[in-house]
């Protein structure tokens, strides 16, 4: 029993560390340790149930060990402080007054695509729809809407540049070419290499953010009659 208990403890701690290192994208509305309990408890219950050569007590002991660990970590969570931050992480401010914070996103092993996906789920389609956005420690995005937001977005913005790389497929979708995009970024800032994010919506409205600069809202010259 004690051997099973300590084996469960080691696996649990390993999983908590790994989940914390994986960042917030793997979690999905649970604290890391809650996610781990959910992840392994099903297997712990199933293996002794399906494999008749394993005594049932092995599964029972592992599940009880998980229960103890879960209760212990919940208590630590409630007490707050440094231990809570170590176990569950802290919220990350991924959109601030300067726009998307790429460093903070990367710290959580996320990209702009993941951020946009989470925003879309909340009904926000443009990166400037939010003044602030925080990825909570449970992986959920908490938005603070931009007071200057112009109602509901009428066209879905396309990601044109993501960390200095042009998305050729999306450029073709807006009936333009990479040279025009390069010229556009050079004219309005420091060129494509220094462009962290550039999105263009169907009305030619551009959200562009250069490295270490505040984001800008510009207008992209779309070809005649092109809209999406």
């Amino acid at each position: 029993m004690l051997v099973t208990f300590f084996r469960t403890l080691i696996i649990f701690i390993t999983l908590v560390v790994v989940m914390r290192l994986m960042g917030k994208r793997q979690i999905g509305e649970m604290q890391p340790f809650e996610f781990i309990v959910t992840l392994i408890i099903a297997d712990l219950a199933c293996i002794p149930m399906a494999d008749v050569s394993i005594p049932l007590i092995y599964g029972v002991v592992s599940i009880l060990a998980l229960f103890i660990l879960h209760q212990l970590l919940s208590l630590i969570e409630m007490s707050g402080g440094l231990l809570k931050r170590i176990i569950s992480g802290k919220p990350s401010l991924v959109i601030n007054s300067d726009g998307v914070d790429m460093i903070e996103l990367k710290r959580n092993n996320m990209g702009v695509d993941d951020l946009i996906e989470s925003m879309r789920a909340l009904g926000y389609y443009s990166l400037d729809d939010l003044s602030y956005a925080i990825f909570e420690s449970n992986g959920k995005l908490s938005p603070l809407e931009n007071p200057n937001r112009n109602g509901v977005c009428k066209s879905v913005p396309l990601m044109i540049v993501n960390e200095g790389k042009i998305n050729v497929k999306n450029v073709e979708l807006m009936h333009s070419d990479t040279e025009t995009v390069k010229k556009f970024t050079a004219k309005n800032g420091n060129g494509i290499k220094n462009t962290e994010i550039m999105t263009v919506d169907g009305n030619g409205r551009v959200y562009i953010k250069y490295k270490k600069e505040k984001y800008k809202i510009l207008s992209f010259p779309l070809s005649e009659g092109i809209k999406w």
């Binding site: 029993m1 051997v3 208990f5 007590i57 103890i68 209760q71």
Partner: protein, 125 residues
């Protein structure tokens, strides 16, 4: 919060008591079984063992294994069953050299199995 702490401590206490009982119980059962095997080993070594002696050991094992199933992987119990059956046949046929090696294996199993329940690094890792 108080309920969480109490429930956690209760489960930890149950696990601790259970673990202590399990370790002691398994050690005791296998220590007794080992003593019985030791007698059989001497008899086989002196070539005085009969099939009834092996059956007596088998009966002793049957009584123990009913409860050992709770704690020990069933494959390990089956292994002891198989070695005992083979020993019985070899003693009946008076093939002492083979029989003694089988009893030797049984003795080794009776020493090894309870060791897997001890809280050591080898077992945990």
């Amino acid at each position: 919060m108080v309920r969480s702490i109490i429930s956690m401590l209760c489960v930890a206490f149950i696990l601790f008591i259970g673990a202590t009982f399990e370790t002691k119980f398994v050690q005791k059962q296998f220590s007794e079984f080992h003593s019985v095997l030791e007698i059989l080993y001497e008899k086989v070594d002196q070539e005085t063992a009969t099939q009834d002696d092996v059956y007596a050991v088998q009966k002793n094992w049957l009584d123990k294994k009913r409860f050992l199933h709770i704690f020990i992987p069933h494959n390990e119990i089956k292994e002891v069953d198989l070695w005992l059956s083979e020993s019985a046949t070899l003693v009946r046929d008076k093939e002492w050299n083979d029989a003694i090696s089988k009893v030797e294996v049984l003795k080794e199993l009776a020493e090894q199995i309870p060791r897997t329940f001890l809280l050591t690094w080898d077992n945990v890792l």
